[in-house]
């Protein structure tokens, strides 16, 4: 099953999920009052219909890529990407998400400045292979710049060390 068909199946499930949940929303009290569930049900129906259409038409392409230089270029770049094993690319994406996730988790505990410096170092070393010393200047600059713009210039209070927020 191709990507489009798999997407269509997931989207049909989403449409059903939204429809069922919208159906459970209590109806309007007055006869001609429009309830809160109407619009989501309307959307779920359209999504279901479109997903079925996507499933049916999946994989059908109208013209050759020779006539479409832009698509040809995108396919070419995809071919270049494929040269690297997919596992490596997925690993980098997951690593990126983990680094960003850890940054968010530690933000209320370490505060903006310390957390951003650590994030900058980790981000550049783990994701882009920078050496430790080379990461220091951009990481510190980023933290100081962010602090100056938001805390000083715009007067938006940023989380500080050991200060928790909602």
């Amino acid at each position: 099953m191709g990507h489009d068909r798999k997407s269509a199946v997931v989207l049909i499930c989403l449409a059903l999920f939204v429809f069922v949940n919208a159906w459970r929303i209590p109806r309007a009290a007055l006869q001609y009052e429009i309830g809160a569930g109407i619009f989501p049900m309307f959307l779920a129906t359209i999504l279901g219909f479109l997903s079925i259409l996507l499933f049916i038409t999946a994989g059908k392409k109208s013209k050759s890529l020779e006539d479409a230089p832009e698509e040809a270029a995108s396919v070419q770049s995809d071919v270049e990407k494929i040269q690297e094993p997919i596992a490596n690319r997925v690993k980098r994406i997951v690593k990126g998400l983990v680094v960003l996730g850890v940054y968010l988790v530690l933000l209320p505990y370490l505060g903006f400045i310390i957390d951003t410096i650590l994030f900058g170092i980790g981000y550049l070393m783990l994701l882009y292979g920078f050496r430790f010393l080379k990461t220091l200047v951009p990481a510190v600059a980023m933290a100081v710049l962010g602090f100056l713009i938001f805390e000083i210039a715009l007067r938006i209070p940023l989380p500080m060390f050991m200060e928790t927020f909602r």
Partner: protein
């Protein structure tokens, strides 16, 4: 107040020292965003939107609009000199401009692009100044049924014109509309799709969606492909950037044609700059006496597509200001900016907030002059930004995104939602689902639902109301024709079209 008087009033607002400063900051930041590969205008405006909180609405919008058309200008520089289109609307500029640069005419190509953009921007703004109030007067007759059919038609047009797969474009829109329904319903007080999570009760802010979908997803996509560093960048003197007499002679009409075509396409929902540049290129090639020169580095082609690019930037403001309906991704984020500042774009905008709307239009004239002054002598300086490693640039975008969302909500929950939308945006990009329609759906979902429910209340539950009033009947008829054509196209040829998705 009418006509010129309104414009002079706008200038009196735009020419205050503070607003001049905001315009200058906007166009400078916009140009930098345009120059940076992988940071389109949508990402740029979305990430910088939180910086406008608490500002005076006129100043904030002057800044955002400056970023928008500054990015349009900046895109040409990297396209011509390094063959890197900063955004999809600069693809045709790169095709012709880079060939000219290889022939040693890069400086003149940059010059004609800057002058062409300036002329197109000015033509577009004159048209905007005259057409927008007329459109607003017409739009004032719109009631809920007209608004609902107009939004339905706009979404369909966006899906049909701005993506390479109509069905995926529509699915993206519907998902965006679904996102807008999360939270407590304003009319009945019922919680929808919150699943007991308190953080979802207030709904999901569009800025969180925009930054997640565009900035975070962009960073994730770029983690897959390491960027190639740019090393050979030529420095230019201002004299080298001035086009010759013959360049002007052969480019002036393409500039004017490009300006008008770009403006016209820009006005259409889903039109966007990319389609405008492709159509302009096609027209120029079709009417040219020297067709063989196209694709080999042709000055009039660069002039025409760059003019079209900037003409459409001005055109995009017509549906935005008069109907409150954005023409594409960038104007969708701008619409969100209006809403965050407590201003609802639409037919009454010209009456309720003349200072904002005319100040904005006048600032665009001023911004155009600033861009011309900035772009010619400072091109070499802007190009130095390309020497900055992408890793550092993406780190900057990450931190700015987190700070932006934090300053908006003061909540860690919103940051996780941003990350979630980042993953969604990445997956959707991988699966070829366009992102701008999702954002458009999220922003306009509330308005659309309100229009639908008000219409059904008016008609006591009958859906026939959308076919009974003249304007909504006309819009419904156009919607039916467009949809029927698309369904026929899908059944006969499949869902794909020969075009890349448009983020502009």
């Amino acid at each position: 107040m009418d006509g010129l008087e309104q414009l002079f009033y706008g200038f009196s607002i735009a020419l205050t020292p503070m607003n001049l400063l905001w315009a200058l900051i906007g166009v400078t930041v916009g140009t930098i965003i345009g120059v940076l590969p992988g940071v389109g205008p949508v990402t740029g405006i979305a990430v910088l939107l939180p910086l406008t909180f608490g500002r005076d609405p006129a100043s904030a919008l002057i800044l955002l609009a400056g970023i928008y058309y500054g990015a349009m200008y900046g895109g040409s520089t990297t396209s011509i000199l390094a063959n890197i289109p900063g955004e999809s609307s600069s693809v045709m500029t790169a095709v012709e401009g880079y060939e000219l640069a290889k022939k040693g005419r890069g400086g003149a190509a940059l010059g004609i692009a800057a002058f062409g953009s300036f002329i197109a921007g000015t033509v577009g703004l004159v048209l905007l100044g005259f057409l927008a109030p007329t459109m607003a007067k017409l739009a004032i007759k719109f009631g809920p049924p007209e608004y609902f059919t107009l939004m339905t038609l706009s979404f369909t047009l966006v899906a049909a014109l701005s993506t390479n797969n109509i069905i995926k474009g529509l699915i993206s829109t519907v998902i965006g509309l679904m996102v807008s329904t999360i939270g407590i319903d304003r009319l009945t007080g019922e919680a929808r799709f919150t699943f007991g999570v308190i953080g979802l009760m207030d709904g999901i802010e569009f800025v969180v969606v925009a930054i997640g979908l565009f900035a975070v997803a962009e960073i994730l996509c770029n983690l897959e492909v390491m960027q190639i560093p740019i090393t050979q960048l030529k420095k230019f003197k201002v004299r080298e950037l001035l086009p010759s007499k013959s360049d002007w002679k052969e480019s002036i009409f393409p500039i004017l044609r490009g300006s008008l075509v770009g403006f016209g396409i820009g006005c259409l929902p889903g039109g966007g700059a990319t389609i405008g540049t492709f159509i302009t290129y096609g027209i120029e090639k079709a009417i040219s006496k020297t067709k063989e020169k196209f694709g080999t580095g042709h000055m009039p082609a660069v002039a025409a597509v760059e003019s079209s690019n900037n003409g459409s930037a001005a055109g995009g403001f017509i549906p935005l200001l008069t109907l409150g309906i954005p023409a594409g991704g960038s104007t969708a984020v701008l619409l969100g900016g209006f809403m965050l500042l407590g201003i609802s774009p639409g037919p009454t905008l010209f009456q309720l907030h003349p200072d904002v709307v005319w100040g904005l239009i006048a600032s665009m004239y001023i911004g155009n002059v600033m861009l011309l002054i900035l772009n010619l002598p400072l091109i070499s300086l802007f190009m130095q930004i390309l020497r900055l490693p992408y890793a550092v640039m993406s780190l900057f975008i990450c931190v700015l995104s987190v700070l932006g969302i934090y300053s908006l909500s003061n909540s860690l929950f919103s940051l996780w939602i941003m990350l979630l939308f980042g993953v969604l945006g990445y997956v959707m990009r991988k699966l070829d689902f366009p992102l701008p329609p999702l954002l458009l759906g999220t922003i306009l979902g509330g308005m659309m639902e309100e229009a639908l429910r008000q219409s059904l209340s008016l008609s006591e539950g009958s859906w026939l109301i959308f076919f009974q009033r003249p304007i909504s009947l006309t819009l419904s008829a156009i919607f039916c024709i467009v949809t029927a054509f698309q369904v026929y196209h899908i059944i006969k040829h499949g869902a794909y079209k020969e075009r890349e998705s448009d983020e502009a």
